[in-house]
């Protein structure tokens, strides 16, 4: 027994330390053992890559590389021959999205509410200002073999991985290593193989950026800064971060986006700076394949398909949304969708809760349409080509690394096992050759003499020992190690008991077809035993019951309830609305029994008894037609709202992170809203750039944008920007005094900045070469304000702050275009008028915080009577769908006329948004954005029946009913499917 154990240990040691060639600079302790790993693999089916297969071929490897490969290659003298009859050889896999062997980032919790915001970087050293920008992280410096992790990868068939530290928005470089367990020097193939980015600031506790749009702005600014840093500006000193950023640019650039919209957002940053990112995707790209294809990127696809939601209790099932259900159903088709669209992609183990799930999920992806050929490419050739390492790995060719798999059959067949994973010529046994299955003659040598049995081995976990009868047997083969436990005597029905009371225990080692070992008999005596193969089991070619590809529902646009089924998106039509009461908002006033024609997206005619042809005629008898509602202040349809990391964040843009799948788009269409001004929040004095959108439900983020509209920016004053409700304040300002100083300082800097560029441009014009000033996205936006190319909408409440903000504008030479909320506007209506501001307010909100205690519902009426251009806004996703009613309250509170009231949610906001030439009234030539109401639009009893944007019907009651039915039946279909699928392994 002792001898046996020693053998074991020795065998393991050999595997561990066997060097391909001694490292010349390293001393030898003992006797040198030069070895070249010279092997010939013969009689194999060699799959060189997805396109080329050699049957009955030979591959020679030496020194960790492929020496030659082909059909007629002879085994050279000096090479050890390995017979691979019946086996397959594949290039081993490559995963280019891992953190193998590099340190894990450690997160520290921090609450800005109770600890105050951290405005500066805590990183020590000559680095840049932001903790989340870490281009100087070099994964290779900290890389070290982690054999446990390597083994888990090797088991799956991987031979090479790209590894990086998954922390920060700029994450530094990745290192390319093999998964061999030799030493760190040998496994490292390329120390700087890639550069990495993401939208996650990782362990940074710095307050900025606190939003997706902040992440984007920070990346854009860093590109600009890095380019500027190349001219070695003295005022910057040494900035190691920018230096590293520049050094990393020639490498393949990999962006972790993890979601369809983030994929597009990342790609747009790349487009702006001439970078084509390789995009690490999520599992939902199939929902927007056209957009994904247009990125021209290569993608890295994870296989973390959602597990089936718990729907066993109908009440729990009710909380699972349709989009979640549909994504459960369709996510496994994501890789297939890429294949179908012809988009190059790699596969990764990343994001899986356990790497063990890789194969089941890969097989699921294949069941859902991913071809074997494409799967192999995505695990070999494509990642190799993507990183430019196809001279080393990715296929089996002469000169490349001896990274290959020996399998029992075609690799993606479910019955196939990976037998060995060779990495740089080193063998790692994954599964012992299943061909040990067969009949063995077992002889147990006891004091009483030999006992003979037959052992029928089915596989490594199951065998039956047969004496006179079949015996109750437990069998396990793990590599060379064999354990057998059996109960001699007749097999009984109560097997457990008999085994517990009466068992012979054997253990031993396999030496090819001969096994031997020791054991303990039923009485506790030591025994020895041997076994010899009598008959090898026939390799069964089991007819695999091919699982049928599942039938899937259709993609919805957006991928949400009430989305439009693929191919059923509403189209622009020529629409005639007849016999309606038409509220024109023009000099014509309200027309009764009138018609309106929309053609090519524009209002083509208004009048009585229009005799025209139309695709669609809507009877408006007894109904009211108005321009679409315009909401001056909204926060729907955006992935993030506030970048509160600093007091001035004019560089961030809502338009960078629109979410065209927000259900509130649809809900607001049902309330007659057609245009919304999506604002940055009020977390800071100078917030972000806003985005005007049209509620085109179903289009992508770019499609939502109101093209050609004047750009705006959000400012804010008062309690929110002072962070009045924080327990600890670290961010300037904390008073209204400071708020004004922030404004003055920002515009003073903007003016100086503008001047420095003007001077630079002058000099360049005159041919005087000079260093360019730093391009500052924050100040660019403020310069646009000074040049009246960008307009302000300013969150505001009390009269003092209104006056203070106007004073800055007057001093600096700009007008605050719009004061929004402006609840004490009535107190300084004359001053607002003089300044030239528009005002956009709530109808009747008050008493929720100190600065709204003097808010009055008569505010709109007073300001309107004073001659101000007044709008009523929502700032609330629910109220937005009743903006007509909010406008009607000005009739009640202050006696505004009905027509004027309606204008407060249509023409007036159009004017303050500088789009009154397009929308806000019903006039020939304007956009065909109209709402047909069941009643007087200012009445609580009015419901929108149709909401039309540019001649496309995005909402109508009948379609809405149909969609509700569709949601019900689609939910029911998928929930039943999940309940049935539960029995299956996935």
């Amino acid at each position: 027994m002792r001898i046996l154990q020693r053998c074991f240990i020795w065998a393991v040691c050999v595997l561990l330390v066997l060097p391909m060639a001694a490292q010349p600079t390293f001393p030898v302790n003992g006797v040198a053992n030069p070895n070249h790993g010279y092997f010939a693999f013969t009689n194999a089916t060699i799959v060189q890559d997805a396109l080329q297969t050699i049957t009955n071929g030979t591959m020679i490897i030496k020194d960790g590389k492929i020496l030659s490969i082909g059909k007629n290659v002879q085994t050279p003298a000096g090479a050890v021959e390995v017979d691979c009859s019946g086996k397959y050889i594949y290039p081993s896999f490559i995963d280019i999205y891992t953190d193998y062997g590099v340190p894990q980032p450690k997160r520290q919790s921090r609450s800005s509410f109770s600890q105050g915001q951290q405005l500066f970087s805590d990183t020590k050293g000559a680095y840049g200002w932001n903790e989340a920008i870490k281009p100087g992280t070099e994964a290779f410096k900290d890389f070290s073999i982690d054999n446990d992790k390597a083994e888990s990868f090797r088991k799956l068939g991987f031979g090479t991985v790209l590894s990086h530290v998954e922390d920060g928005i700029a994450r530094g470089t990745g290192v390319l290593v093999t998964l061999a367990n030799t030493n760190d020097n040998f496994v490292m193939l390329k120390e700087r193989a890639s550069a990495h980015y993401s939208f996650s600031k990782g362990i940074s506790t710095q307050s900025y950026p606190s939003s997706l749009m902040g992440d984007i702005a920070l990346l854009r600014q860093t590109y600009l800064d890095a380019a500027w840093y190349k001219q070695k500006p003295v005022e910057e000193g040494t900035n190691l971060s920018l230096q590293a950023w520049n050094n990393n640019q020639p490498l393949p650039q990999i962006f972790e986006a993890n979601d369809k919209w983030n994929d597009l957002r990342a790609d747009r940053i790349g487009d702006e700076f001439g970078v084509q990112y390789i995009i690490k995707a999520g599992v939902n790209e199939y929902q927007r394949m056209d957009d994904i294809k247009a990125t021209n990127a290569t993608f890295i696809l994870p296989l973390n398909f959602p597990k089936s939601p718990d729907v066993s209790d109908p009440e729990d099932a009710a909380t699972v949304s349709l989009s979640e259900l549909k994504n459960w159903e369709m996510a496994p088709s994501n890789p297939a969708a890429f294949e179908k669209a012809g988009i190059p992609f790699c596969l990764t183990t990343a994001d899986l809760p356990s790497t063990k799930m890789f194969w089941t999920h890969l097989q699921k992806a294949m069941l859902y349409g991913l071809s074997a050929e494409e799967a192999l490419k995505a695990l070999t050739a494509t990642p190799a080509a993507t990183l430019g390492i196809d001279n080393l790995v990715g296929s089996l060719q002469e000169g490349k690394l001896a990274n290959f798999l020996i399998t029992s059959g075609p690799i993606f067949d479910s019955k196939t096992e990976i037998l060995d994973n060779y990495i740089q010529g080193h063998q790692y046994e994954i599964n012992p050759d299943a061909s040990t299955a067969g009949s063995y003659r077992v002889t147990i040598l006891t004091a009483k003499g030999d006992e003979n049995y037959t052992l029928e081995v089915k596989n490594s976990k199951s065998a039956t020992l047969i004496g006179k009868d079949s015996l109750d047997t437990k069998f396990e083969q793990e590599g060379k190690k064999i354990t057998i436990r059996f109960s001699p005597g007749k097999k009984e029905s109560n097997t457990k008991k008999s085994m517990a009371e009466n068992a012979v225990r054997l253990s031993g080692l396999a030496s090819g077809q001969e096994w031997s070992g020791i054991g303990i008999d039923t009485l506790g005596n030591s025994i020895t035993w041997t076994a010899t193969l009598i008959k090898k089991a026939k390799s069964e070619v089991k007819k695999e019951k091919k699982e049928e590809s599942p039938t899937l529902g259709k993609v919805f646009y957006p991928f949400e309830p009430y989305g439009w089924e693929e191919g059923k998106l509403p189209q622009q039509e020529t629409i005639l609305i007849q016999h309606a009461t038409i509220w024109t908002n023009e000099n014509e006033g309200v027309l009764t029994d009138a018609d309106l024609l929309i053609k090519d997206g524009k209002i083509a005619a208004i009048g009585k008894n229009l005799k025209v042809k139309a695709d669609k005629i809507i009877d408006g008898t007894g109904k009211h037609l108005t321009p679409g509602i315009i909401d001056e202040h909204s926060h729907i349809a955006t992935a993030s709202v506030n970048e509160g990391g600093q007091s001035v964040t004019s560089e961030v843009r809502i338009g960078d992170n629109l979410n065209p799948e927000d259900i509130n788009i649809y809900r607001q269409l049902s309330g007659g809203v057609t245009t919304s001004h999506i604002l940055h929040g009020s977390a800071n004095t100078i917030g972000g750039q806003t985005q005007l959108i049209k509620l085109r439900w179903g289009v992508d983020d770019e499609g939502l944008k109101f093209k050609g509209a004047a750009p705006f920016i959000k400012f804010a004053l008062g309690e929110n920007v002072k962070q009045s409700r924080y327990n600890v304040n670290t961010r300037y300002p904390v008073t209204r005094m400071g708020v004004q100083e922030v404004l003055i300082d920002a515009f003073t800097r903007a003016k100086d900045y503008r001047k420095s560029w003007q001077e630079y441009n002058e000099k360049m014009k005159r041919g005087i070469k000079t260093a360019a000033p730093r391009k500052d996205l924050e100040l660019d936006a403020l310069v646009e304000i000074l040049e009246k190319k960008r307009f302000i909408t300013c969150h505001s409440y009390v009269q003092s702050e209104l006056k203070a903000a106007m004073e800055v504008g007057d001093k600096m030479g700009y007008t605050v275009n719009t004061f929004t909320h402006v609840l004490e506007g009535y107190k300084v209506a004359d001053k607002l008028l003089k300044h030239g501001a528009n005002v956009s307010t709530f109808s009747d909100w008050w008493a929720y915080k100190m600065e709204v205690m003097d808010a009055i519902p008569y505010n709109a009426a007073i300001m309107q009577k004073m001659g101000l251009n007044v709008a009523i806004n929502s700032d609330d996703a629910e109220m937005a769908r009743r903006l007509n009613q909010e406008a009607a309250k000005t009739i009640k509170y202050g006696g505004v006329t009905e027509e004027q009231a309606l204008k407060m949610v249509t023409l007036n906001p159009a004017k303050m948004l500088h789009v009154e030439n397009r929308v806000g009234s019903l006039k020939v030539g304007k956009d065909g954005d109209v709402v047909l109401w069941s009643d007087n639009p200012l009445s609580i009893y009015a419901k929108p029946l149709y909401t039309i944007i540019e001649g496309t019907i995005y909402f109508d009651r009948q379609t809405n009913e149909e969609k509700m039915q569709e949601i019900k039946s689609e939910r029911q279909r998928i929930i039943l499917k999940i309940l049935n699928e539960k029995k299956k392994p996935f």
């Binding site: 909380t319 649809y666 709530f842 929720y848 915080k849 007087n936």
Partner: protein, 430 residues
Amino acid sequence: MKNILFILLTVFVLQVDAQETVAPAKAHQGVFFISHATIHVGNGTIIQQGTIKIKDDKIESVGTDIAVPDGAIVIDATGQEVYPGLILSTSTLGLNEVGAVKATNDTRELGELNPDVRAIVAYNTDSKVINTLRSNGILLANIVPEGSFVAGSSSVVQLDAWNWEDALYLKDGGIHIFMPSMQRSRWWRFFTSNNQSDPYKEGLAKIEKLKTFFKEAKAYAAVKEHEETNLKYESVKGLFDQSQTLFVHANNVKQILSAIDFVKEFHFKVVLVGAEECYRVAPLLKENNMAVILLQPHQLPDMADDDIDQPYKNAAVLQKAGVLFAISDEASDTRGRNLPFNAGTAATYGLTKEEALAAITLNAAKILNIADKTGSLEAGKDANIVISKGDILDMRKSIISRAFIQGRQIDLTNKQTLLYEKYMQKYNLK
């Protein structure tokens, strides 16, 4: 008579500079008439060209054949609509002045078992918010404590009083329970992968404990003399003889279903508050004789999958199922003043206008156990009356011209109307 006329007039002449000087009206004595009115009784009927006779604090008679003697004080309501005073059936009015300022919040006491805590004692009759409700026709409110489980008792107040004692309309009439969540939110599922805890189980266990408390309280109530006084048991005594109502704040189906026990086992008078998912269980509510207070029809559906108009339609579902319900208003940014428009929305989405009106008048009174005194314009009830220039449910026309609480014509001035006047004067506007 002349005196009354004088009082009625002076109220309108009084123009003051701060709400602080808006005084509650003096008790009304004598008789006056409201004539030529379209009278919305509150019980579903409309009397055209009707007359209401008010004597002292009560309605003496309502109809079309009431003789108005010569020289009587008459308010000619020609062209106007007359309604019962609106009732806000769940509110933190007077407990909470400025949402964001903690010092002004008296809505929520510490602890999970506070049946003894009484909302009325913190009700501030000088709250600036109160008068902004009166000017929209809201004359009564149920003042409700908030809490994490058993929150305390509510009282109904009339909104024209010097102090809470004078404001009391029904003292400690309701015990309020805020149901445990019972359900995993979608966010919860998103952030936690392993389902260790089961909120349904935990919630049910918590309710079982409460039931034990009620059993003990019942046993305690059966004994007259106690060695040891238990304030908590004492405070729920009224539930057992239905002189108190159990208000169960519950929204999802699981919460609602688990409230049925309070009816079945204890025979309590149970009212569900919130009940966002009532549309899915309406027949069960009817079967168990449970009433509902809908808190906020103007809200978004819970899930993207839901009918986009579901919160608007809930009232109609209850109406159809025959469930007694009221509509309230808990919007924290407008503080209850939009109550009539919440009812208006329910009328747009399936109720008749009179059904919608009942949900903020008579049915609210029934649910609050004050229907014997108010809720409709019927003989013998308190003269809680609102006169509106148009349809009170529609903001387009809902302009309140007069209001009476127990016969007293109240001042419709509030902080906001005063600021309005002030700045109209500043700008010389009309």
